[in-house]
């Protein structure tokens, strides 16, 4: 009851005209920031942070949170429409969103993404409302060994991602891991894999550079080659009927959406993880629980819905450690955290007590932001579809420019743009040889997180890997991931056995 009271108070704050207006403006701005490749919620929030000094702190965080939220919705748009991940959090959406768009189902993919985002957002805000303090305890209980176990789980969900060819999937994962090791070692500070002493390698390989290279440049080369210059413009249709139909079809993905929401929220509340690994893991899980895992990567609606539900849920989740522990769960919340310091609010365990109006106003505004984001998003679908109707001769250069901008924007370094071209060409060649690329992207995202937590754990345990099995949470997660690692092998042996049985 106490919580409902507080929430009601929060709604009174959030529904003040200025706050309501800021939510609507925020989600709309966020939607477009998220849709621009290279411009993610981090940049959006950072750019607009200084403008918030004009309003009271509560309104300020409501505005920034609305942008964060809107950007989570928006990231899906360019992933689906152009095949370029709009933001790091939307990389997994590309895997199935793009094939759907090529089949002329862009409107369905966009609708599914919007609905999934809404569900993910709502579930996570409900969890936030009801269980913030106990969940903060969970976040505290996660140390390095638990984090490493979680990363193993993430890899395990991806083992089956590359289809049946497990050696090729492994190869792809190892390429990603090797690339993620480039740069300065986080623990010792020693430079590693600085090829030809090029300065640009010191800051490591930003995984957006790899993702845009593979999905933007590589995909474009692939389209040009496979169509031999005679590009068939994807059939793009849109009407109210079709959107209603799409809503019905989204039902297929209900399981994936719910799995993605809970998983995303949970990963989001853990410091150091955030929405990007959350959405990737959700994709892996959706494939695992799907009845038609083979259709993943070829345009399965669940493959769009799961990561989108997860990234919205994770963005709400990552606010939890920010508010209760003063630790950002994602790069964007790190900026929000900076904002709170500037507004004179002390994040930490006391915030819920000392600044109840601020906290509950923010939570209530997330409900409202969620609702507006889904409405604004669906309203814009016809406009986005119109983009797809452009002839390929116009679309291709636009995609190319967006790729270059997207590769340049995060670090503002031409080195990254050249690297992106190299990855694009390499990805195109590997694709011709039938190597799956998604595992490489996953590995470059999770690799550094896994490496640091592994080394910290081993330092704590004086080099003994038993630490992962002595702590209850870590041991449980490790056990689950071992089962998942073994699963494809079991399936493989079974298939062989039944083949033999059929042969006899």
């Amino acid at each position: 009851m106490e919580i409902l009271d507080a929430l009601l108070q929060g709604f009174i704050v959030a529904l003040e005209p200025i706050n309501l207006l800021l939510v609507i403006v925020g989600v709309t701005v966020g939607l477009f920031i998220g849709a621009m490749p290279g411009l993610g919620s981090v940049n959006g929030v950072a750019i607009l942070l200084p403008t918030t000094f004009l309003v009271p702190p509560t309104s300020a965080i409501i505005f920034l949170a609305a942008i964060y939220y809107g950007a989570m919705y928006g990231g899906a748009i360019s992933s689906i429409m152009l095949g370029i991940p709009g933001a790091s959090t939307a990389v997994a959406t590309t895997f199935d969103g793009r094939p759907m768009a090529l089949r002329g189902e862009a409107d369905q993919a966009l609708t599914a993404a919007a609905v999934a985002s809404f569900v993910g957002g709502t579930i996570s805000v409900l969890l936030f409302t009801g269980f913030a303090p106990p969940l903060a305890e969970v976040a505290l209980a996660f140390g390095s060994p638990e984090e490493f176990a979680l990363m193993m789980l993430a890899f395990a969900t991806f083992i089956g991602l590359g289809g049946d060819d497990i050696p090729k999937t492994l190869f792809s994962i190892f390429i990603g891991l090797a690339l993620s090791a480039v740069g300065l070692d986080i623990i010792s500070g020693e430079p590693r894999l600085i090829f030809f002493d090029i300065q640009g390698f010191f800051h490591g390989i930003n995984f957006l550079v790899l993702a845009i290279g593979i999905y933007g440049i590589g995909e474009m080369l692939w389209t040009i080659e496979s169509s031999r210059g005679n590009v068939r413009v994807s059939k793009a249709m849109v009407s109210v009927d079709r959107i209603l139909g799409a809503l019905r079809r989204t039902k297929e993905a209900v399981g994936a959406i719910f799995a993605g929401s809970f998983l995303g929220y949970f990963v989001g509340i853990l410091p150091a993880a955030g929405a990007t690994p959350g959405s990737m893991m959700a994709y892996g899980v959706a494939k695992m629980i799907s009845k038609k895992p083979d259709s993943f990567g070829k345009g399965n609606i669940s493959g769009v819905a799961a990561p989108e539900a997860a990234n919205n849920a994770a963005s709400t989740g990552s606010m939890l450690p920010m508010l209760t522990l003063g630790i950002p769960g994602s790069p964007t919340t790190a900026i929000l955290l900076g904002g709170m310091v500037i507004w004179g609010l002390e994040p930490g365990p006391r915030l819920f007590v000392d600044q109840a109006e601020f906290v509950w106003g923010l939570i209530a505004s997330l409900y409202i932001a969620n609702l507006f984001a889904v409405l604004v998003n669906i309203a814009f679908i016809p406009a986005f579809i119109w983009v797809l109707k452009m002839p390929f001769t116009i679309l291709a250069p636009v995609i190319f420019i967006l790729c270059v901008v997207g590769g340049y924007a995060p670090t503002q370094n031409m080195h990254d743009v050249w690297l992106m071209f190299v990855f694009g060409i390499a990805a195109y060649l590997l694709r011709k040889l039938d190597y799956p690329m998604a595992p490489a992207v996953l590995a470059i995202v999770l690799g550094p997180l896994a490496e640091v937590s592994l080394r910290q754990s081993l330092l704590i345990a004086h080099g003994s890997p038993m630490i992962f099995f002595e702590r209850p949470i870590a041991a449980t997660i490790m056990a689950i991931s071992f089962v998942l690692f073994a699963l494809p092998l079991v399936k493989y042996i079974r298939a062989r056995l039944s083949d033999r049985a059929a042969g006899l």
Binding site: F142, I460, H462
Partner: protein
């Protein structure tokens, strides 16, 4: 005749007015101003003490219009600040006049530990020292430890299993850990994490036994009664943590500060240097900054130019001695 005279006076007035405005214009042209947004490099991860402080400086600049172009914070935490130092070293031309960096003490230690980077911190442009941050020794409330004797006893009992969490290898936190190990005959295990905020959380979550956080990083947990300070590395007790004695009082003459300075690249022009010095002096004098210093137990005057170089030289020597003593270099 009268009209002629009037016309003459008017002409004269107009000429004078034009002249003055020209003068004003040329003066404005002389004062250097940034031509594009300024890269505000932070040599630490997001959410730590250095990061929060940099973002506060940025907001003070924005809010009060201290600069004509925005300051964009960029985190370069890699390799105990090596990534940030290299970025600064390589800033040339227009970039040199549009890059400033917030430093920690890894400003001294990272170049010493990684000679191959070829960085001399004393060669950077001294913009201003904004504050000196303080260190305390923290434990979890549930540990039952309330004073240094308890701490030493408990840490001795655990031996190598006592975990001290800190930020980065060979950085401030490790120096303090090594000092404690040496002074009290302990064998605490130092485990590096990314950012002071994360370190504070490790202690609150009982994944570490102790930390040497800055006050700003532990404040939230301290106020919630989760963690508590045992002793401070300052010359005198901190007003906020009166209960924590200094190591001096405890008979170990060890005082250690973290510098919070703003530096520019070697290649920064004199005009730009003058400009940034002005901007950050204004930040230092602003009520927001002064309040932050009181709230977070920061100390130190604003110093710049030769005085700052002298301060760096002194501290650089001190760090070299400490690092040599503990066998890091």
């Amino acid at each position: 005749m009268k009209t002629m005279q009037g016309l003459f006076i008017r002409c004269l007035a107009a000429t004078l007015a034009l002249g003055t405005s020209m003068l004003a214009f040329s003066q404005a042209a002389f004062a250097w101003e940034p031509k594009k947004p300024v890269d505000f490099v932070i040599m630490a991860g997001k959410g730590g003490g250095a990061d929060r402080m940099a973002r506060l400086m940025q907001s003070v600049i924005e809010k009060n219009d201290f600069a004509s172009k925005p300051f964009i914070p960029i985190n370069k935490p890699g390799g105990s600040g090596a990534e940030a130092l290299l970025h600064l070293k390589n800033a040339k031309g227009i970039a040199a006049d549009h890059t400033v960096m917030v430093t920690l003490n890894s400003f001294y230690t990272t170049p010493m530990r990684q000679k191959n980077l070829g960085i001399d911190p004393l060669s950077f442009t001294p913009v201003g020292r904004m504050a000196e941050d303080t260190f305390l020794l923290w434990v979890h409330k549930d540990s039952g430890i309330t004073n240094i004797e308890d701490f030493v006893k408990a840490a001795k009992a655990e031996g190598r299993d006592w975990i001290m969490a800190g930020t980065g290898k060979g950085q401030e936190d490790q120096l303090l850990t090594d000092f404690l190990n040496g002074a009290y005959g302990l064998q605490m295990k130092y485990v590096p994490f990314k950012g002071g905020g994360r370190v504070a959380k490790e202690l609150a979550g009982k994944h570490a036994h102790s930390t040497v956080n800055n006050p700003s990083e532990q404040l939230g947990f301290y106020e919630a009664g989760t963690t508590m300070p045992i002793a401070s590395f300052t010359p005198e007790r901190l007003p906020m943590f009166q209960e924590a004695p200094t190591f001096k009082e405890l008979g170990k003459n060890f005082v250690y500060f973290m510098q919070r300075s703003v530096v520019g690249p070697q290649a920064m022009s004199d005009e730009a240097e003058e400009y940034y010095r002005g901007v950050f002096k204004k930040v230092y004098d602003s009520p927001e900054w002064q309040k932050y210093m009181t709230d977070k137990s920061l100390q130190g005057e604003f110093i710049t130019g030769d005085e700052l170089i002298a301060y760096w030289t002194d501290n650089n020597g001190r760090h070299e001695t400490i690092l040599k003593a503990i066998g890091e270099i």
